[in-house]
């Protein structure tokens, strides 16, 4: 099952890049905030709104990291199962496909849920009081 190891290595790489992106965007944003606050600068509302994008970027990337980790877990189980009984290959592939399909659906739902107004441009801008 060499290809699974290669796939796992690729997924690890993607997670590493995503984590670095989260850290870099956060560091950059906080440095900018430090400069703004130190110099008592006033930002307009449009700028204050886009300043919030780092939080959304971090949430979106964290959700895909979580999906990758779920996928890696299923790949690990698949490899173990396959190693124990290669005759069940077709069944193992089918089970893995079901699980990965579930991981994909969950990840897509989180993409929508964690995007806020950036994913729902028609969303009413107002604050909803109950």
């Amino acid at each position: 099952m060499q290809f699974v190891q290669t796939l796992n290595g690729l997924l690890e790489h993607v997670k590493k890049v995503e984590r670095e992106t989260i850290a870099l965007t956060k560091d950059g944003q906080l440095q900018l905030v430090k400069f703004i606050e130190k110099n008592s600068l006033r930002l307009d509302d449009e700028t204050l709104e886009v300043m919030q994008y780092q939080d959304i970027i971090a949430q979106q990337l964290s959700a895909t990291i979580e999906a990758i980790e779920n996928m890696q877990g299923h790949l690990h189980l698949f490899t173990n199962s396959f190693d124990q009984d290669a005759s069940n290959m077709e069944e193992s592939f089918g089970e893995m496909d079901d699980k990965l399909t579930s991981v994909l659906k969950n990840a897509q739902e989180k993409h929508s849920a964690f995007g806020g107004k950036t994913q729902h441009h028609d969303y009413d801008d107002g604050v909803e009081f109950f």
Partner: protein, 123 residues
Amino acid sequence: MPLVIFVDDSETALASTRMVTDSMPITVKQYLSAVDALREIKGGMTPDLIITDMNMPVMNGFEFLQALRTVPSTARTPVLMLTTETRDELKQQGKALGLTGWIVKPFNPAQLKQAIARVLRLA
């Protein structure tokens, strides 16, 4: 001045709310975890308004809200959810738990200020 606390596991999100509210006649305290905020509340802090994120590790926004309602001093304190979540079922769940309102990120700064002023009845 009224005390408003913000709870969010994102430092940059807290920085954004801080820059928006720094001109308001309120005292702001910020927490990176609901557990830390709850500890201070149980220790005697009495906020006039609590604004919290939904998706946080350890204790999420709903769990925080439920815990606040069991503390006598915050049993009726207004709580606003500030989140990326737009799903109606979550809003209804929050309403049933006693949430005051729902604000979707990225928030409009003027509207966040208006919401705070409305809840605190600031002139």
